[in-house]
Amino acid sequence: MPAFFQWLDGVLCAAKKVVVQCSPSYLVLIGVLLSCTAQAKPQKVVSINLCTDQLLLLLADKPVIQSLSYLASRDDISALAHEAVGIRKNHGLAEEIMLMQPDLILAGTFTSRPTVFLLKRLDFNIIEVPVARSFADIRHNIAMIAKALHEEQRGEQLIQAFDTRLALALATQVPQPPVAVFYRENSYTTGGNTLAHTILEAAGFRNLAAEMGISGSGHLPLEALITQHPDIIISGRKRSPHGSVATAAFQHPAFQAFKTQTTMVTISDPLWICGTPLVLDAVENLLKVRLQLAATQQTTGQPTP
């Protein structure tokens, strides 16, 4: 259904543009047709979403990038924070974006809806990139942005490099995949149909939350965590040095006792948030954990229960 609406929108928009631009004379019509077949490459691109920020940095030349979202240079959530330094930041408000006069705007499907609709209404060239939940989504998003940037070749290359690296990671499999679980602040866990689940599976782990029937993100009771006894617990990087209510479960005596019987892994959050080729860093980091786990099991001779 959404695809249909997008298509309809596209058709109506194109029709409108042709009618508006072609009314003066046939010469103009021919000009429009020519410019449609060989449309100019965007020269001023603005991104208002953390994930499109990163894909844009990977696919476009720096001079073309006019502005990124204000989150782009925060190294606790953006995997390419360093690359974003020195590029103008925006806060996703229609006014500031309009004044930049961009010829392409990248947005997420869940960010600043009113702003996106307003910019569309004002005839800005805006593409909405969906949230990636799988590797296929990542390829799709790269191709989508590459096409809008007229950087198809670069997109192809990026996807190919991604696939080669992914195949390499998938090739290192061991027969018995260990069970892992995400356990974060507020006993928040991540189940099936998510990017994190895809990364976990690619690294050869089973996702306990997904096997318990959780799709998307959900809550994992401490009791369930202890009774299901996963081989590794994956938690995010500590945010507040003084602790917070959200991390209370980590201080729980039951959790403290359980921690000693299992492997705790902290991950680098920025690699897990957005669907970019950088998720392969996360996959490779987890692969190392799995190999270590297999090594310790071999030396102690204890298979996981």
């Binding site: 259904m1 959404p2 204000y70 006069q101 600043s112």
Partner: protein
């Protein structure tokens, strides 16, 4: 003091609302301001300036005006009808129901398809709430039942909203819902104005027509009935009027608190405590205050915009306390 000339009051309110409206058009995150407005009016402005002033700032200012009017008027009508100074437009459950309807469109992904999906969801929620309230409150003129029905609808709709947040499988959806619930006028377009204006105008008409009945009600329910007012009908008109106007306001901007509660209190003494004169005064006062709060949002924010609903509550709550203490002193 009490017998202040009312035309004086209305002209003050009218002029300050007009100034606040102009302020709302010339204040924003970019350089575009008063001088640029003059170029637009004289027709010499460039395309970008025109778009910013006419397509971004103007609808925002218009919505601020209409929503403020709605909240001020709604608060005054309900406080008059229920003869309860704590009544506010959200009391009968319309705000929560409209929020629920809007939140459901975010949750289901409908709001991502076209701009008006969300406000249409909100208005639908508000209209369903009216049906429910009329059903719960029954064919009964008791104001107590109306309040109780409102409380029931409010808590039920809030519980469902929390449930939706709870069930959101994607943190991006949950975040989007939470931000929307805080109330904001940022980047609304004329589409929002055209969608909500008919509902609000119809609602205002229904509410403004109840002035005489509210005056009679100051003498008590029985006295009003003996004067020929059918309280049942009046209640129905008021509930529908509130649902249409406040429902549409919430649907486009989210819940904006305290305006409807504070403004009637502020102005009551200046209209000699006469409910019928309070209606229009309170509407204008609400519009003025909402516009000012929305200007404050833009001036105070560096970068990420503050939410209007948060700012009105921040200003409104201490101010309300002050007002209560002052009234107490006057009574002693």
């Amino acid at each position: 003091m009490i017998k202040m000339a009312r035309p004086g009051l209305f002209s003050i309110l009218f002029i300050s609302t007009l100034l606040a409206f102009l302020g709302s058009v010339v204040v924003g995150s970019s350089y575009v301001g008063g001088r640029e407005l003059l170029t637009v009016l004289s027709g010499t402005a460039d395309q970008t300036t025109r778009l910013i002033l006419l397509e971004i700032r103007l609808p925002r200012a218009l919505l601020g005006l209409m929503i403020g009017m709605t909240l001020g008027l709604g608060g005054a009508v309900l406080q008059g009808f229920l003869r309860n100074p704590l009544a506010e437009p959200g009391l009968i459950g319309v705000t929560s129901a409209a929020s629920l309807g809007a939140v459901l469109t975010i949750y289901s992904g409908l709001s991502a398809l076209f701009a008006l999906a969300l406000p249409i969801g909100g208005i639908t929620g508000a209209l369903l709430a009216v049906l429910l309230i009329q059903l719960l409150a029954g064919n009964n003129s008791s104001t107590l039942r109306l309040i109780l029905a409102g409380v029931a609808v409010t808590s039920f709709a809030s519980a469902l909203t929390s449930l939706v947040l709870n069930l959101a499988s994607n943190p991006f959806i949950a975040l989007e819902i939470m931000f929307w619930l805080m109330g904001s006028l940022a980047d609304r377009s004329f589409e929002h104005v055209w969608l909500s204006a008919p509902f609000m105008l119809l609602g205002w008409c229904l509410l403004l027509l109840q002035g005489k009945a509210l005056d009679a009600l100051t003498l008590g329910e029985e006295a009003a009935q003996s004067l020929g007012f059918n309280l049942n009908h009046i209640r129905t008109y008021i509930v529908i009027g509130i649902a249409l106007s406040v429902g549409a306001a919430t649907a486009v901007a989210g819940a904006i608190g305290f305006i409807g509660l504070v403004v009637p209190h502020l102005l009551r003494r200046w209209v000699a405590h006469k409910p019928s004169s309070l209606l229009l005064a309170s509407g204008l006062g609400g519009a003025c205050l909402t516009l000012l709060a929305d200007i404050a949002v833009r001036i105070l924010s560096t970068g990420t915009e503050l939410k209007l609903g948060v700012v009105t509550a921040l200003i409104g709550a201490p101010f309300f306390l002050l007002l209560i203490m002052k009234t107490q002193k006057e009574l002693q």
